[in-house]
Every structure is written in structure tokens, then in C-alpha cells.
Amino acid sequence: MNLVGLALRNLRRRPVRTGLSILGIGLAVGSALALIALSRSIKDSTQEGIDEMGDDLVVMQKGASDIFGGFIPEQMVEHIAAIRGVVRASGELFMFAPSAGHTSVLTLGWPDTSYLWKKVPLREGRVPQQGERHVAVLGEAAAASLGKKLGDELELVGETFRVIGIANYTTVVNRGLVLVPLADLQEASYRTRQVTMIHVNVDRGGGPAELSRVRSSIEALGNVTASTANDVLNNDRNFAILKAVSLAVSIIAVAIGALNVLTALVMATQERTREIGIFAAIGWSRTRIITSIVSEGVVMCAFGCILGELFSFAAALVFPHIPTIGDLISVKPHVAVIVPILLAAFALCIVGALLPAWRAAQLIPADALRRI
């Protein structure tokens, strides 16, 4: 028998309280993991969506707080395309466009001549022909959630579009897209001759130095920034807020888990005052008494963390099947998310266990032995 064995034995003495405490820790850790994973997944899903388009650089309005917040004159696309080293460039206007039934769908408008149309992985149908108006290509998830198929009509921002193609993109964000001609979206959204961002492909033979030069040349055009997709999302205010909120809520959740440990151990040590007196009477040092009680907290935390892990994996399995979530993001628990949360949970649980442990160690053995 060792201190961990003793801790397990003590926890098994009060199975209901121990179970509820572990459940509390599990829910706290699971919530924290799910929240952080969710906010991370939103960013990852968006980045994967941009990456799937094959961009080297993304050009946005300088100072735009988020990817929806800036607008660039459409003629800027020609200036960028003319820069040496730029292979091709395409403007894009995007927005969450209101559709029938009070739903909003992420809608992208591309020019008729954009190279992006040629990269659409069509499952069925076709992409718009040059000059064709009021037609739309839907991602598979968008088609499913809107209940549309080829030839159906779709209402977007008060305009009617005919579905002419279904695309089977691989990333969650792109699977939920609606693609329409740029001119239609500009007109419907009162953004005539404006785009939200410009996709840029660079001659990759030049390496990082060439990419950097092109980037500088684009930014020299004035009032725009050229970034990689990762940089765009890292600087995005919405993602920063989302991350901060998730972190704050996660800290609260884990702190509640630690409070569970504290409550359980305060009660356990009060009930076991006499037992702690026995430990002291047979010569256990304060450190050993504290360690034995903290061990119980750590054991509870370990089981709670395992439970929380299972909850978060369950969330990762279930969330994609919930249409309003699964259409936009994919929740992926990741080591980079799990490890900090678990470390925080253990740290807080140890802090939560220290108070009752410290109080127990302060007891005068004779007084403790008098307790019933």
C-alpha cells in the first residue's frame, strides 16, 4: 500500500460523493475542452477552407478588424495581377447572405472569369458561364441543409438564383458555401465594384524571398495588406474575441471543477478528523498528511480528467451531426488543446486540495483523536 492506494481506498469509502465530485470535474474539464476545441476548430475550419482554395496570399483592406470587415475596390485585382511574380489573382465578395426560412448561408461571389471557378470540385452540374447571372453552385452540406438540388431555385438577399451545380469540397466551411457570380452579389448587397478579399497565387519557384517581395509590392499599392491565410486569421478580431471568451469560460469551468475537489475534500477531512489524528499520532509528518490528502484530490482529478476527455470526444463525434454546428465547423480535440487544459485542471485541483489538507495538518493530534 502507498499514498495513492490509501487515497483510492478513502475515495471508495464514499462512492456517491466521490462519483459526484468526479462527475463535476469531468463536466468541467469536458466543457473546457469542448469550448477551446470549438473555438480552435472554427479557426482551423476557416483556414482549411481558405487553404483548399490554394491561395498563397490573401489581400484585404488595411486595418480591417476581421475578414468580413474590409472592402477593396475591384480594380485593385488588375493592379495586383500585374505585379511581377503574381501568377493569378481573383477578387471575392463574401457575406452571410439571408436565405429563405431565416437561415443565413456563407455566400461567395466570384467574377465570371475567375480561376477559382475552374478549381471547383463539381459533384454534379456545372459552374456559371461567362455573363450568366442569377445562378448558384452549392456545397454539398449547403445543398443538404437548404434542401436544394440541381435546377431548384434559391432565394438569397432577396434575389432568386437557380442551382446549376453541387460541389464536393472536402473542408467543412467550403462544404457549406454558396457560390454565385460576383456581379450578382455586389448588386444584391449594394457593394458594386467592391470585393472583400483578393486571392493571389504566386510563382512558387521564387521561394519565401519571392513571396515576401510580392507581398511588399502588393502592400505598396496602398491601403491593403497581403498575408498568408494563417496570418489573416491570427489577426482577425472576431477569432481573438472568440478565443478570449472560450478561454475565460474554460477557466471558470475548470475552476468549478477545482471547487468540487475542494468541497469534497473539506467534507472528507472534517469527517476523517480522527483518522488524521491517528496519522499524526503514529508519527506522520505534516508534509505526509498534506500529501495523502492532496493525493486524493489528484486521484479524483485524474478520473475527472479521463471522464472529461471522454465527454469532449463524445462532443467531437456528436457535434458534426448537429446541422447548425456541423455545417460550419468540425470539432477536433487536439493535443495542443488537451494538454494545457489537463495541466490547468490538475494545478487547480491541487490548489483546491491544499486548503483542506493544510487545515488537517494544523490539527493538534490530541484534539483530532477526541473527535467522533
Binding site: 503514529i282 508519527g283 483523536l369
Partner: protein
């Protein structure tokens, strides 16, 4: 001294389990040392008082008491006379309101000092057994070996050997709740002696036992005192049991009123300072 018994061999095995520890050699020497050569004070109380409730209750009043290594003494007195307070001072599970407790010439002041003493040199047997009910007999004894730097297997082996010494080799893995009162007290004795303490304190160790179990437990404790020179302090209200101890200390209202080792005129000086 009586001829060695099989149990004596078991006890010597307990000692032999520990040759790797410096402190164990010290313990071993102490235990086999003839009493006549070792009459230095083991523990002394010097002007010890214990007050409760801000001085409203005086449990001990200016008590001086010296216990030599190898002593076998009984502390007797009526209920509420201060016996338990005195024994609490002797094993450091309570602290004096004033005065000093000295162990082998060194005043014991901190809780760490006392914890170390209880871990290495003082064994306590309580009236209420004070065993952990959810643990087995073996595990209860093993608890007292934590912090001695022994591996789990050595702790178990040693605890088992001592339990065998007290006659519980067939009860090693029984939960405490499955043992009789006499068996529980023998587990408590095993826990108290597993570290081969210099001082064994019994606080009414037979108080909760039937007559047969009480006789067995008393015999066990006296044998430890007689055969191994373990210093024994027995707190009891049983005059017959106390009479078996060569030295008797009587306490009344927190003051020692009789000590068979001290002439009466000297004793009268106590409690008047």
C-alpha cells in the same frame, strides 16, 4: 529472565529486518542493552502545566516527572484526574501551556520534533484502538512504517512479522472491522512496536476489553518491557494492573500525588511552584 520463546525469535527477526538503517542499529543496541547500564532519563516533564478554556480548566499543574530508559511504570488516577493529559504530553500529541518536555536531554519544542519522535521512538496504544477501519490489520501496521525509507515489500514483511509476534499471523489481511476487540488491540500494539520504539505508552489499553483479552494484552505489553527493555508507561485506573508495574505514579487534580520512585518529601514540592 525466562527462556527465549518462538515469539522472541520473531521479535528478533523484526530487528534483523533493519540492519541497513543507521537508526535501526541504534534501536537494536538500545533494546538489547541491560537495563542496569541504561538508567539515564529517557523523557522528562519539567514544570508542565496544561490549561484549557483560557485557564478555566487546569488539567495538569506544574508537573515534574522523569522516566528512565527501561522503566516500567503505571500512571493511575481517577477519571478526570489528568492521566490522559499527562500521557498526551509524554507522546507530544498535545502541547503544554507552560513547561518543557525533554527527550534524552533535548527539549522537544516543535511539532516536527514530536512527529519524528513518534515515528521512530515512541509507540502509543490507545483505549479506543484508533485503527483505520477500512484497512486490513497488515495495512494498519504498515502505516506506521511510512516515512522510514522502506520499500513497500519490506514494509509489508516487517508488519507481517510483528503481527505474527502478537499472534495475529492468521489475521493479516482481515479488515479491522472483522476483528474482535482483543485482536484490534493487538494490532494496535503491533503498530506501536513495529518501529521498535524506546518508549511504549499504553493509554488504558485494556479499558475496552473483556477480562481474557485484557489479560492477554497486558501480558504482551509487560513482556515487551521485561524481555526487550522497552520503556513502558501504562495509564490505567485498574489498580491490579498498576500493581504489576515496579513504579507507580498517582495523579489527582492534575498534580502527581504519589510516585513510588520519589520520596514523599520531594514529591510535596511538586505543584507548588
Amino acid at each position: 529472565m525466562s527462556a527465549p520463546t518462538p515469539r522472541d525469535d520473531v521479535m528478533m527477526n523484526v530487528m534483523n529486518l533493519r540492519p541497513t538503517l543507521e537508526v535501526d542499529r541504534h534501536d537494536l543496541l538500545r533494546l538489547v542493552r541491560p537495563r542496569s547500564l541504561d538508567s539515564r532519563p529517557l523523557i522528562s516533564l519539567r514544570g508542565v502545566s496544561r490549561l484549557y478554556d483560557g485557564g478555566a480548566i487546569t488539567a495538569l499543574q506544574n508537573v515534574d516527572l522523569q522516566i528512565d530508559a527501561g522503566d516500567c511504570m503505571a500512571i493511575v488516577g481517577a477519571s478526570g484526574s489528568g492521566k490522559s493529559s499527562l500521557v498526551n504530553m509524554l507522546c507530544g500529541i498535545d502541547h503544554p501551556s507552560s513547561g518543557t518536555v525533554v527527550w534524552e536531554g533535548r527539549p522537544q519544542r516543535t511539532r516536527q520534533d514530536w512527529a519524528k519522535l513518534r515515528r521512530l521512538s515512541i509507540g502509543i496504544v490507545f483505549q479506543e484502538f484508533n485503527l483505520i477501519p477500512t484497512l486490513t490489520a497488515l495495512e494498519n501496521v504498515e502505516l506506521a512504517l511510512f516515512g522510514r525509507g522502506l520499500s513497500g515489500s519490506r514494509r509489508q514483511a516487517r508488519a507481517a512479522t510483528v503481527l505474527e509476534y502478537v499472534g495475529l499471523q492468521h489475521r493479516l489481511n482481515n479488515l479491522i472491522t472483522r476483528l474482535s476487540g482483543g485482536e484490534r488491540q493487538r494490532v494496535a500494539i503491533a503498530r506501536a512496536i513495529v518501529n521498535a520504539p524506546a518508549l511504549l505508552i499504553g493509554d488504558e489499553p485494556t479499558g475496552n476489553l473483556d477480562s481474557t483479552s485484557a489479560a492477554n494484552v497486558a501480558a504482551l505489553m509487560f513482556r515487551l518491557c521485561e524481555d526487550y527493555g522497552m520503556t513502558l508507561v501504562l495509564v490505567t485506573h485498574d489498580e491490579k494492573l498498576a500493581a504489576r508495574c515496579p513504579r507507580q505514579v498517582r495523579i489527582k487534580d492534575g498534580v502527581i500525588v504519589e510516585d513510588t520512585a520519589i520520596p514523599d518529601p520531594l514529591l510535596e514540592l511538586q505543584g507548588t511552584a
